[in-house]
Symmetry: C2
Subunit: 245 residues, 2 copies
Amino acid sequence: MTDETHSPHMISRRLESIFPITDEESQAFKELPVQVVALKADRDIVSIGDRPHQCCMVLEGFTCVYKLSQAGKRQIMALHLPGDIPDLQSLHLAVMDNSIATISPCTVGFIQHADLRRICECYPRLASALWRETLVDAALMREWLLNIGQRDSFTRTAHLLCELQMRLRAVALINGPAFDLPITQEQMADAVGISTVHMNRVFQALRARSLIKRCKSEVTILDWQELQEAGEFEPHYLHLREAVA
Amino acid sequence: MTDETHSPHMISRRLESIFPITDEESQAFKELPVQVVALKADRDIVSIGDRPHQCCMVLEGFTCVYKLSQAGKRQIMALHLPGDIPDLQSLHLAVMDNSIATISPCTVGFIQHADLRRICECYPRLASALWRETLVDAALMREWLLNIGQRDSFTRTAHLLCELQMRLRAVALINGPAFDLPITQEQMADAVGISTVHMNRVFQALRARSLIKRCKSEVTILDWQELQEAGEFEPHYLHLREAVA
DNA sequence: CGTAGACTTGAAGTCGTTCAACGGGTGTGG
DNA sequence: CCACACCCGTTGAACGACTTCAAGTCTACG
């Protein structure tokens, strides 16, 4: 909530990871006024039914998109990392059809819709880049739908871990096999659509097969190849510009 | 494959159902060159891995977006009706991360990416309308994710029926409680993520509770109120301009 | 008239849920 | 500094929803 300068870097890095933009366009982004805010874990950033006049960019931490069933069960339909804009849709969809919350303590940056619209008019390629962002979000949701609809809980979980690892790499937040994953088993369970108790057992199975190791909030992938196979993970759907080895 | 004139009407009607556009913009759409093709049921229109140079607009019939798991199980992640553009994403995402197939016999219209890009440049509001289209598609997927991840099979199926009824109404394809739903139980099962056998039992339960009636490919909703409650259906996520009673 | 595809049925089996309880670490207030 | 509370992770056992297999019926269509 202090350093306002690293935020535009964040977003342009994310955009560039999936779409080539020029220096001038990148620069335009960096000059956008951003209101930076720090938030505790498990707080709503935007709630279903809201009519926001701004978008929220993740700067630090993890956020999630979620909805509740009538029984009060929560389905997480996306996880967002630094550089992502979880509610970019609100630029064209007046009322939120989902909530967005922090998974871990976060700092986020708010950008006014008006500013985004203006920049989209001046730089049509940036508009395309943002459009593309929302399309990649949708592509991830399709994969999650396949995951939840057709794969068993073990495969689903392995798949999610692979996805997170690769996305974190793509924005250069990690480079080795270990990374910080400040997310509880309950939140993981909500993301793959199983119960907390069962998520715990899946984690045990993953450890038993020596696929991962977990120590506090740090996850280490012990066998990337095996984990990918266990999770039926094919990274094409991430639409990254360059394949990450 | 014969009448090329009704197709642009179709798309503009769909766009207008969620976004106000001017006559001039609507006109621009109607002048787009469209290649109309008739297809049998259960045929791929675009396949995963393709790099299409055109988009496909549904003119008659139903299409679906799907992916296969390694075990060969199919998850349908969206159903598209006349007026929809199932692969609009391909405008900005070079390679398809999903396949698109016909559910029933269909006629579809292909529009070149180049033409769409041109019209987006000339009419930025149309570009926004198309962007919005893809965002609504994503909103539907979020609801499907909630449906499949957190609701039981009975609720899921009721929900899907409500959604289809309301979307068909929104484009004025139906007005009464009965409508043509040329889709097999197997396809329905793939859409809600359950087995064919179980889908059959869910249908029996829906009939036993007098919520729906099915005769050939025609579905009649006997109690709209009850079906909505049974499916936990709240239509906000469809982002229709006007609530349909 | 025969065949293929869609729908239907029963029974057995599996995966995941639910309930209930306990352990361990961490932070907070007395 | 200790005690307590809380959250997270863990465990066992019973239950339930859905799957799978296998067979049989119905209808449409060539």
